[in-house]
């Protein structure tokens, strides 16, 4: 005899489709046009930063850079759902969230330009820096969330990683920890459909990435990752549950990487225009702009002013970044340990012997 011992389903949430027309009632925050304008500004600002960073890399003034073109709604939506005293544990394509949370453009340019000081954020002091070894940041999010739990705080963690990261053991282990201890953490899968050259369908046979939550005993859901309202709504709901002791959630935000993996990548090697171009019709900025315009909450003049403002901000950040002298070589020794061991002091003296 067999009986059904468990049943699961994964729901998909969308509030604003590609045509900019709401599907049913919007969540409460989205009924305030000012809130939506703020989200729109966050996304435009992110795109302006991406364009500047890519331009700087192309002209030899920045290191390899990972653009978030087309994925702005994921980063901005999740950040807008967070409180300032929450902790963000990012991957490397959530510039929009970092900027929203107060990391400066100059800091981001310093980091991607090869200067560790870029990760010494003046704003969100407890946020983790960009994470490059894919998925390895997920256990950190569990640890930070456990710390919050042990301190009896109502803060929470948001951890972002990509579709490729869901194949990593680190992510599976973090979900297990978060589930078994009901940790206050939201895992956002920034599913841009491509892990460098490997498409989503070749990453896993699972129908959704959200269902990775099911095995860990935590809720998982999918949202339209190009709908910033849906992203913010789903992450806010998950954060509210986390703060009230309800534990962790996986939110799979389905978006699309419109650009190369990084500036060191040439996506034409593994995907053609026919694959990419339909996704331009679904990207996050026009749909929200269309909706705001239909509400009478956004005009051509406001759009022009915003673009000019963003241009000025990225130009200023560029100037500040380029005017920042590199660190002394001594800095690589000084930050290895809290107190420089004698042996390392000898190496420092040798390495910096020819410095003034």
């Amino acid at each position: 005899m067999e009986t059904v011992v468990a049943r699961f389903e994964i729901r998909h949430r969308r509030h604003l489709g590609p045509d900019g027309v709401p599907a049913g009632d919007l969540p409460a925050f989205a009924r305030d046009p000012a809130e939506l304008v703020a989200l729109y500004r966050g996304m435009v600002r992110t795109r302006a930063f991406d364009q500047k960073a890519v331009a700087l890399q192309r002209t030899g003034r920045l290191g390899t850079y990972a653009s978030s073109l087309g994925q702005e709604a994921v980063a901005v939506g999740l950040a807008a759902a967070m409180r300032p005293d929450d902790v963000f544990v990012p991957a490397f394509r959530e510039h929009g969230a970092q900027l929203w949370r107060g990391v400066t453009m100059r800091e981001l340019l310093l980091y991607w330009g090869g200067d560790e000081r870029g990760s010494n954020f003046a704003g969100p002091r407890q946020d983790f820096p960009v994470n490059v070894p894919v998925g390895s940041q997920a256990p950190h999010a569990a640890g930070v969330a456990l710390a919050m739990r042990l301190h009896g705080e109502d803060r929470a963690v948001v951890c972002a990683f990509g579709d490729g990261a869901t194949s990593k053991g680190d992510v599976a282990e973090a979900l297990v920890f978060a589930g078994v201890w009901s940790l206050p953490v939201v895992f956002v899968v920034n599913n841009n459909q491509w892990a460098i050259s490997v498409p989503r369908r070749a990453q896993t046979a699972a129908e959704t990435l959200a269902q990775k939550a099911i095995a860990a005993g935590i809720p998982g859901m999918q949202v339209d990752g190009n709908d910033v309202i849906a992203v913010r709504d789903a992450v806010a709901e998950a954060l509210a549950r986390a703060r009230s002791g309800g534990g962790a959630t996986v939110v799979e935000a389905v978006t699309y990487r419109l650009g190369d993996h990084t500036t060191a990548d040439d996506a034409r090697r593994y995907r053609d225009d026919a694959e990419v171009s339909p996704h331009w019709r679904e990207e996050p900025l026009p749909r929200l702009r269309t909706y705001l315009t239909s509400l009478g909450a956004w005009t051509k003049a406001q759009e022009d002013a915003l673009l000019a403002q963003c241009r000025a901000e990225v130009d200023q950040a560029e100037a500040d970044y380029l005017a920042t002298p590199p660190q002394d070589l001594a800095s690589i020794f000084d930050h290895t340990f809290a107190v420089l061991p004698a042996e390392l002091a000898r190496q420092k003296a040798e390495a910096t012997g020819d410095e003034p």
Binding site: V87, V89, E116, R117, S119, N120, F121, R125, Q126, F128, P129, P133, S136, Q137, A138, P139, H140, A141, A142, G143, V144, A145, L146, A147, M148, L150, H151, G169, D170, E173, A174, V176, F177, V180, S331, I332, H335, T336, F337, A338, V339, P341, A342, E343, L344
Partner: protein, 326 residues
């Protein structure tokens, strides 16, 4: 009198650190109710409760990564990796995160954590339980690597490791867990994490060892004394940062160096010791440096492990060779 075995000293150091600092947590597999498979955490759950002694799911990368997150929030996690062969799953978290979070953020986020793990063979354990991985960890910038070799030093070094503001890998030779008892008072002081210990003074040869090889080196020195060969025995204790000065000063007195490690020969930590002496102490040497090590083979299963692990006899033979050279 508070006589303790090495594993009891490890337990006492954690209990002391936890009593002194509420930020100290113990996390790992079976560390709570079970008290750890080697009983290193026995009694801690009852004394400090489940908020501070936390049984984790069976996931070593997760445990190390969890500790990074806890440490970044101001806790001082002491994470136990259950058996030596399971530590490699945690290596990524140690190399890419624990050891470099401070430098990556220029001091904004730090990792005051300890990863404790058993090391070495000799207790007839199953496969993957008897390796000596210290050299892999000593190669990691930003990480301290400490290997215990006696109850008293284990206590003082572990206490210091837990108080240290940076990550420490603390290796405990399973063979020594219950080998001897030693006076270890509860209020014993922490020991420095950048000093080697001269355990026996001598004039003819310097034996440098750590962990499970320290008693073997001492036994070899004892045997050689009967042959009128006087050996100085140094327990490195902290491999990184390395106390080069103590080694060089000793070799300057003795003129002969024999380095002993249980781990395989090639790229072992003994090579680092030999290289330092070659660089800065060559003119003191009257004989070539000798290394007595495990072999470049996989650690054998228990029926052959005693023939793999360097013995006092092999160490004594290496010293006799050095004496015969000059």
């Amino acid at each position: 009198m508070t006589e303790r075995t090495l594993v009891q000293a490890v337990n006492a150091a954690m209990a002391r650190a936890m009593a002194e600092d509420p930020a100290v947590l113990v996390v790992g597999e079976d560390v709570g109710t079970d008290g750890g498979v080697f009983r290193a955490t026995e009694g801690l759950l009852g004394r400090f409760g489940p908020q501070r002694v936390i049984d984790t799911p069976l996931a070593e990368a997760g445990i190390a990564g969890l500790a990074v997150g806890l440490a970044a929030q101001g806790f001082r996690p002491v994470a136990e990796i259950q058996f030596t062969g399971f530590i490699y799953a945690a290596l990524d978290q140690v190399v890419n995160h624990a050891a470099r979070l401070r430098t990556r953020t220029r001091g904004r986020l730090t990792c005051p954590l300890v990863i404790r793990a058993p090391t070495g063979g000799g207790v007839r354990a199953p496969e993957h339980h008897s390796e000596s991985p210290e050299a892999m960890f000593a190669h990691i910038p930003g990480l301290r690597v400490v290997v215990a070799s006696s109850p008293a030093r284990a206590f003082g070094l572990l206490l210091a490791a837990i108080r240290d503001p940076d990550p420490v890998l603390f290796l405990e030779p399973t063979r020594l867990y219950r080998a001897v008892r030693e006076e270890v008072p509860d209020d014993a002081p922490p020991l420095p994490l950048d000093r080697a210990f001269v355990l026996r003074e001598g004039t003819d040869a310097t034996l440098v060892a750590w962990g499970g090889m320290v008693p073997e080196a001492l036994a070899a020195a004892e045997a050689l004394e009967k042959e009128d060969v006087s050996c100085e025995v140094i327990d490195l204790a902290t491999l990184k940062p390395l106390d080069e000065e103590t080694i060089l000063a000793s070799v300057a007195r003795t003129g002969r160096l024999v380095v002993v490690q249980e781990a395989p020969l090639t790229a072992g930590f003994g090579a680092e010791v030999a290289a330092r002496v070659a660089e800065r102490g060559l003119m003191s040497l009257r004989a070539p440096v000798r290394r007595v090590t495990g072999w470049d083979t996989v650690m054998p299963l228990l029926r052959l492990e005693q023939r793999y692990i360097p013995s006092a006899a092999r160490i004594a033979a290496a010293v006799r060779d050095a004496m015969a050279f000059a």
